[in-house]
Amino acid sequence: MSWHDPARALEPESDTALRNELRGLLGMSRSTPETSYFEAEPTPELIQLADELRREARRRNLTARKKSSWMLLAAALPFALVTAGMGAWGVSQKHKADQLAATVAHEQAELQRMAAALQPPPAAPAAARPLPVQAPTAKGRPAQTLLLGKAAPRNKAKELVIPVERSKEANPNAPQSVKAN
């Protein structure tokens, strides 16, 4: 890893000018104790500290990383087993369902075949059947409608029908006359 930062090296001049301007506004151009504070020489204590930190990083690399990866694997193992088990169970269930569907379809086909074999052949063609007599109607309605209209009252129960004369003006409170048959 390199310490050289391209973002800092390739900083545009406008940013540098802005920084200088801000330093001027803050009054840092005249008194700059921070410059001397940050220009630290690598003292023996700092060098020793840097090496210790490097060793610590190395130690952590050797221990913590492996331990964490093993722990991650161990934690993920039950989930993987459950997922695999559920997947296998699902596949077996689907196989069973497919077999059942095939059996049912086969049985239905067999039943249809047997029903077709037992059914007698049609005696005469449909064209030979006698057609119903179409009576002429006064209002010119189709005969089929008349037939249906006549056939319908047969099934109806007998009921009393009271014809009512409707007045031209719709008045629910007005008395109504009832004709007796």
Binding site: M1, W3, D5, R8, G27, P33, L46, R58, L62
Partner: protein
């Protein structure tokens, strides 16, 4: 037990690392102190270890270190887990304001204090820590445009501040 070899860490040669460490370590300690960290040295050292511990290289190591120090300092100061803490409350209390005393003059400190914490933080990184806008955006985890906006607003605040006190004429 065999001593661990420091050369196995892919982090440049020793001389380069020692130089960079010597220049960055005091800055990071100071930065952690600004956030009111109780143990700023520990936080700065931990940031270095975390950086060197990484398997994959970091594009901007300096920004990564600053960002790690910021996160660790905020975490250390957090009173309870899962409780957010405002920047206003973080930068000011504790040793935060005193951290500037060794670095900046009284005049600069007063002008910095007049800014809001958000602008002050960005301005500090840009002017005092001498970091680029790209690095600041990585540290604060905000877009570069936001960093620029904050810097320009801080500049406007400083100008107004100087105009009202007549300081701009003195500077001119």
């Amino acid at each position: 037990m065999e001593p661990l070899k420091t050369q196995t860490i892919p982090f440049g040669d020793s001389h380069e690392f020692h130089d960079i460490f010597a220049s960055l370590y005091p800055r990071l300690v100071s930065y952690a102190r600004r956030y009111g960290a109780t143990y700023p040295e520990d936080i700065a050292q931990e940031a270095f270890v975390i950086l060197m511990q990484r398997d994959s290289p970091v594009e901007h190591p300096t920004a990564y270190l600053y960002g790690t120090v910021r996160t660790l300092s905020l975490t250390e100061r957090r009173p309870l887990k899962n409780q957010s803490i405002s920047l206003e409350a973080v930068v000011e209390p504790g040793k935060g304001p005193d951290a500037d005393e060794d670095l900046l003059s009284q005049e600069v400190r007063e002008r910095m204090k007049a800014l809001s914490p958000t602008f002050r933080e960005t301005l500090w990184l840009f002017v005092v820590e001498d970091l680029s806008i790209r690095q600041i955006s990585e540290i604060l985890d905000i877009p570069e445009a936001t960093v620029k906006t904050r810097i320009h607003r801080a500049k406007a605040h400083l100008r107004n501040q100087l105009n009202s006190s007549g300081g701009l004429h003195v500077l001119a």
